[in-house]
């Protein structure tokens, strides 16, 4: 057990820091859930790519740097320290990219990974359906084989980024006789396909952060099948593991927020009730716990172990930590908490935005109730219902 960074790691950190210092926009970009913000975030992805900082964990052959996960944590620490923009390419970098590397054909790797890395093609998810949320195996949208194409009919919902993105990846029922998690396939679909209607859904903040997708006989070449036909559940589970686990939320994001929270507390300390101090310390302490646990998990993965159900504990912890931390900020701001911008608004409403976003954490990527079931049944060995 060793808690010291190597010279190479320190050098890498410095290199990241120097590049970010020179390149991070001086002003925070508008929300990526607006057209203007989305375009600016895409520009930022292109800039990252030009500096070869876009996909640090990807192998070099696919436009990445081939960094270890420990290096990735260092990169993230510098990224959030620099308060760099959110990653509009996140679905691609962390979810679809690794899945294509694992399951894709050589042609698919060639076709999809480079534009994804370059920010030229931004990806949305298309998993949930109105009747298939936590119960994802209840998916009904079907993809019927017709010659060298699939014809897709059905409806998807909660499709993050879909309003402005270029492509989506989703699970569709390819075997009409099948039920539950059998007979599903993972298929990649251009969002401008004829027959595909994207209906924006306004989020809590009013911005169209996700969408409903209506598929009316949308034709997609069979080459867009990712992984085995009818074997999409297994492919999706691999992606879900990435999402719940390590790769979606690194500790740095929360550590940066906890440091801001301490600052906010100190600025307001003289008018706050005494219990708030301990909530602030709890927020800081939880981010430290999350950091230590993530470095430990990453060391296991770097040494060849694979993560599975551990990802569920991870997701529960960061999402509930994030919500608690932002609730504390809301409490501290008190009568100013509701102000979005302008006079009286603190940090231009950033904590309020963060609080709203934190409320989604325990819901997306598999609700925390589902994660608790997974832990209880697969890790603790309690009987299924």
């Amino acid at each position: 057990m060793e808690a010291v960074f190597s010279d190479e790691q320190n050098q890498f950190r410095q290199e990241v820091r120097d590049w970010l210092n020179a390149n991070v926009p001086s002003e925070r970009l508008p929300s990526l859930d607006t057209q203007e913000g989305f375009d600016l975030h895409r520009e930022w992805e292109r800039k990252l790519h030009a500096g070869n900082w876009g996909m640090v964990t990807w192998p070099e052959e696919f436009g990445g740097r081939g960094c270890s996960l420990t290096d990735w944590l260092i990169f993230e620490e510098e990224y959030y320290r620099a308060d760099a923009p959110l990653r509009v390419s996140q679905n691609g970098i962390f979810l679809l990219g690794p899945t294509i590397m694992e399951y894709g054909t050589d042609e698919q790797k060639e076709r999809f990974l480079k534009p994804m890395a370059a920010g030229d093609e931004i990806w949305a998810q298309a998993w949930s359906e109105p009747g298939a949320g936590s119960d994802m195996a209840a998916i009904r949208s079907k993809a019927v084989r017709d010659g060298d194409a699939y014809v897709i009919t059905g409806q998807k919902i909660w499709s993050s980024r879909a309003v402005f993105a270029d492509w989506c990846f989703g699970l569709f029922r390819t075997d009409p006789e099948s039920s539950r998690h059998h007979g599903l396939s993972k298929i990649l679909v251009p969002l401008d396909s004829p027959g595909l209607t994207v209906r924006p859904i306004a989020q809590l903040d009013g911005d169209p952060g996700f969408a409903e997708l209506f598929f009316d006989e949308v034709r997609v070449p069979v080459d867009n099948l990712l992984g085995p036909e009818h074997g999409g559940w297994g492919v999706a589970m691999a992606t879900a593991g990435f999402e719940r686990g390590l790769l979606l939320r690194s500790p740095a994001r929360f550590q940066a927020a906890a440091a801001r929270l301490v600052k906010l507390y100190k600025q307001n300390a003289n008018r706050l009730s005494s219990g708030i101090k301990e909530q602030v310390l709890q927020a800081w302490g939880d981010t430290e716990r999350f950091t230590a646990a993530t470095y430990a998990l990453v060391a296991q993965v770097d040494s060849g172990a694979s993560i599975s159900s551990e990802a569920s504990a991870n997701k529960i912890f960061w999402s509930e930590m994030d919500r608690a931390m932002h609730r504390t900020a809301m409490t501290i701001m008190g009568m100013h908490a509701e102000l979005e911008e302008g006079e009286g608004a603190i940090e231009n409403g950033r904590w309020l935005d963060g609080y709203m976003f934190s409320l989604a954490g325990p819901i997306y990527a598999g609700t925390n109730e589902i994660q608790r079931n997974i832990l209880a049944e697969r890790v603790l060995g309690l009987p299924r219902q």
Binding site: M1, Q255, R289, Y295, A296, I316, R372, A376, P383
Partner: protein, 328 residues
């Protein structure tokens, strides 16, 4: 940067775990509880010496295994899992390295051989468990470690709710010393993690066994989610404790606070899952739960460590945010 045990380190921890699980069983503890003076089950101390546990942290040239302190933290977790009743962790994990640092070669030798018990004292409380077993006490006084013969102190028995650990107030507790207190705090936190884990395991066993409404109660989400919560808290407490064992510093205090919160949650959840049976003296849970209550206040209670954290985190020059977790 590599926050996992090497395979050699893991082997040592697993070996200790295997020994505790095989010898320091619930039946053994029950025997201790029910025995009168003529019928006391045998001490495991000789085995600790033979297994090399007492000399784990001592240098090789002093008959030790020269292991990192983090390995002792791993073993302390296993000892907690077994609710070990003898002061192995305190003596091997605190006294041995301090005796070595003090240059007390004779005492070190005798301790490693299992012939002498040097028991560390936490200056904060002046309360020492197992003090009746000690030959010598190790205290911190005026910034230095000091050894005091048992005949030079007065021990007053205290009545603790924990039935498996004799507790005393010592007349000369000293005023504490970082090299004693930091180690004590970390090992105590590790022990609490082990106790937490065991209480979850006991609860899982019970929930698989007990049926109501024609079903195992462990199949109900109301039970599952409570135990999943505790599991999650344990998984996010152990690493900060291991980090504390590896680098010391401010995370020592966080490790203790988190292990207290986790262990109290584990104990309360465990008794809830056990239902009425958890409230009995007959079911084993109480032995683990009471140890939690006892250990939470040892080596600095929650308020002590929170107060230190407050000073550190709210200081104007505190380094916070990404990249400030490790000493580099």
């Amino acid at each position: 940067m590599n926050l996992i045990y090497t395979s050699d380190q893991k082997e040592l921890i697993d070996a200790a775990d295997g020994f505790f699980a095989g010898e320091h069983t619930v039946e053994y503890m029950r025997h201790l509880l029910e025995s009168d003076t003529d019928d006391t089950p045998p001490s495991l101390w000789d085995n600790f010496s033979e297994l090399g546990l007492l000399g784990l942290l001592a240098p090789e040239e002093k008959n030790g295994l020269a292991q990192d302190f983090s390995v002792m933290a791993g073993i302390a977790e296993m000892a907690g899992n077994a609710a070990l009743t003898e002061p192995l962790i305190e003596i091997a994990g605190i006294s041995v390295p301090v005796l070595d640092e003090m240059g007390a070669a004779d005492e070190l030798n005798a301790v490693i051989a299992g012939d002498l018990k040097v028991l560390p004292v936490c200056g904060l409380s002046g309360m020492v468990s197992h003090a009746d077993l000690a030959d010598i006490f190790l205290i911190g006084e005026g910034g230095k470690a000091r050894l005091i013969d048992k005949n030079d102190v007065t021990l007053t028995p205290l009545k603790s709710i924990d039935p498996l650990r004799k507790l005393y107030k010592i007349s000369k507790p000293g005023d504490g010393l970082d090299m004693i207190d930091q180690r004590g705090t970390i090992l105590n936190a590790s022990f609490l993690c082990g106790l937490s884990k065991r209480m979850v395991a006991l609860s899982v066993d019970y929930a698989k066994d007990r049926e109501q409404f024609g079903k195992q109660i462990g199949s109900f989400q109301a039970i599952k989610h409570q135990l999943a919560n505790v599991h999650t808290q344990i998984e996010f407490t152990r690493p900060i404790v291991q980090l504390a064992a590896t680098q010391m510093g401010r995370c020592v205090h966080q490790a203790k606070v988190s292990s207290i919160d986790t262990a109290m949650l584990a104990a309360e959840t465990a008794i809830q899952v056990h239902g009425g049976m958890g409230y009995t003296f007959e079911v084993s849970l109480h032995m683990f739960m009471k140890r939690v209550w006892a250990l939470c206040g040892e080596w600095g209670d929650r308020s002590h460590h929170i107060n230190i954290l407050e000073t550190m985190i709210l200081a104007d020059d505190a380094e916070l945010g990404p990249g400030t977790t490790f000493n580099y």
